[in-house]
């Protein structure tokens, strides 16, 4: 479904991704792991269209999306739950969800999708007229996921969904990811919680300094590196 092919991405004069190639098949749940600064978020941001690769290509359903704008890419079926959730604080929960459905203009469908969302995330139903900024971290994360799902994506990218959440909520988020995957959603997941992530995925990529260090089944990844050193972002001796 998604094929990132040898992309090189720069922030000004700093090269963030040297040579990244990643594949996600339809229905797969694939994780990107690695230390801070390894290029995980940059990879997702580039796929979403906010950064442009200098060289290399990004194929989605066999067409190149590397030169498309963010607003075109979501129309191809790629939605993102960004790092830091990026909830619109001054908009109500309902308005946040409405924007999530921006590319779908059918009002009756929105009503139905909203009902489904509220069934899936009951807390959002309770807070439907509250401003996004008044929600707790866990609630905002649910809203960010729900907002992304409103566009009916083919591929859902999630950037550190468990970051900054209390342990009980982290469990909820991981359950949610598994549930979404079981329902057939293709997911590209970036996570700093390496152990938990490798427990739920069948395939992962380990990034290091803007390059793919290892890829494969969780056992392969586990064997390949000392997980702690990746987590801390430096070699611990």
């Amino acid at each position: 479904m998604l094929a990132i092919e040898n992309i090189l991405v720069r922030y000004g004069s700093i090269t963030a991704l040297h040579d990244i190639s990643i594949k996600v098949q339809t229905g797969e749940l694939v994780a990107l792991i690695g230390a801070n600064g390894a290029g995980k978020t940059t990879t997702l941001t580039t796929v979403a269209g906010n950064l442009k690769p200098v060289t290399g290509d990004i194929q989605f359903e066999n067409t190149s999306i590397a030169s498309l704008s963010p607003e075109q890419i979501i129309r191809k079926g790629i939605a993102i739950v960004p790092e830091g959730r990026e909830i619109f604080a001054s908009l109500t929960v309902e308005e946040n969800l409405k924007l999530g459905a921006y590319i779908r203009r059918d009002r009756s469908e929105f009503k139905r999708d909203l009902d489904e969302t509220v069934t899936m995330f009951p807390i959002l139903g309770e807070r439907i007229h509250q401003q996004g900024g008044t929600l707790s971290g866990g609630e905002q994360q649910q809203l960010a996921v729900a907002r992304a799902l409103m566009s009916h994506p083919k591929l859902l990218m999630m950037d550190e969904p468990s970051l900054g959440l209390a342990p009980a909520l982290v469990d909820q988020i991981f359950e949610l990811i598994v549930k979404l995957h079981d329902s057939g959603m293709t997911i590209l997941l970036v996570e700093q919680n390496v152990e938990r992530t490798l427990d739920i995925v069948k395939r992962a990529y380990l990034l290091k300094n803007g390059r793919v260090e290892a890829e494969g089944a969780p056992e392969v990844i586990r064997k390949h590196v000392d997980i702690e050193s990746v987590y801390l972002g430096s070699k611990v001796n």
Partner: protein, 297 residues
């Protein structure tokens, strides 16, 4: 202590200032650009009205509508022609562009019309007054209050009830995220400039209605008022701009009322001293906005 005509006066001034400030902030919210060419949109509206007045008699309301439309169109065109090409450059580039646009429009007015002020025709209703109890209320003041109330209600409905309005508010908060949900950047920025032009156009009718004539530099005063009002109210929310506008109008009216005759010349100075005090104690303005400082890149 405040009489009815004082209150109507203050409310009328406040309403006008609220519209002025809102027009500036609606663009600032999205682009983080203080559009220094904003005052020139008011000037363009004024000259449009002046030129239409020379044509064979059109009903004044039609002329006013055309003038407002021309201000909107000018605002839209400045975005398309001047701001869009430099949008992804530095904030300094876009700021300097706004100065350039301002100067260009002023010089166009000098060249096409004249540096001297030109009288603009207004219908009799503008200069008349109605008697309420034992005070005379100028029609113009009532017109300003009614028009701006209607306009603010319409804008609120647009911003709260339509998907475009919601997207506009979202873009003012987190522009890149709004794009990643499929909202086209160009559309949102164009809409912001068109609304800004609409407000400038309506303001031009009443601003020039007060002074009765238009000059190439007439936009400077309203720009300054917009800037100060938004500093008082807070630059990071539309509500802040409206509150700041009304507050500026009321403060200015009160100062004008209580200052002795021989000190009236200092009312602007006093006004700005109050602004400095507000900046000292509430640097973010009275209304703390929720928008982040993110800029379109």
């Amino acid at each position: 202590m405040f009489s009815l005509d004082f209150l109507i006066n203050a409310l009328s001034l406040g309403s006008l200032y609220a519209l002025i400030a809102l027009g500036l902030v609606i663009v600032y919210g999205i682009l983080k650009l203080v559009n220094f060419a904003y005052g020139e949109l008011i000037m363009v509206g004024g000259y449009a009205l002046f030129m239409l007045g020379n044509l064979p008699a059109l009903p004044w309301l039609v002329m006013a509508l055309i003038a407002v439309t021309i201000a909107m169109l000018t605002s839209y065109l400045t975005e398309r022609v001047a701001f869009r090409p430099v949008r992804e450059k530095s904030l300094t580039a876009i700021l300097i562009t706004s100065f350039a646009v301002s100067t260009l429009l002023q010089n166009a007015a000098l060249l096409i019309v004249s540096s001297r002020s030109r009288a603009v025709q207004f219908p009799a209703i503008f200069s008349g007054s109605v008697r309420l109890g034992n005070v005379d209320i100028a029609n113009r003041n009532i017109l300003v209050i009614v028009t701006s109330t209607l306009l603010l209600i319409a804008l609120t409905l647009l911003l709260k009830r339509t998907i475009l309005g919601i997207a506009l508010r979202a873009a003012a908060d987190k522009f890149q995220m709004t794009r990643m949900l499929g909202v086209p950047a160009n559309l949102i920025i164009s809409v912001a400039f068109v609304i800004s032009g609409l407000l400038a156009g309506v303001v031009s009718l009443f601003w020039i209605g007060r002074v009765g004539s238009v000059t190439p530099t007439i936009g400077l005063s309203p720009l300054l008022i917009a800037f100060v009002a938004t500093v008082i109210g807070g630059m990071n929310s539309l509500e802040g701009a409206v509150v700041g506008g009304y507050l500026y109008g009321f403060l200015f009216s009160i100062i004008s009322l209580i200052l002795p005759q021989n000190l009236l010349d200092y009312r602007e100075a006093l006004m700005f001293s109050i602004v400095i005090l507000i900046l000292l104690f509430k640097p973010e303005g009275l209304i703390r906005g929720t928008y982040s400082g993110e800029r379109v890149g």
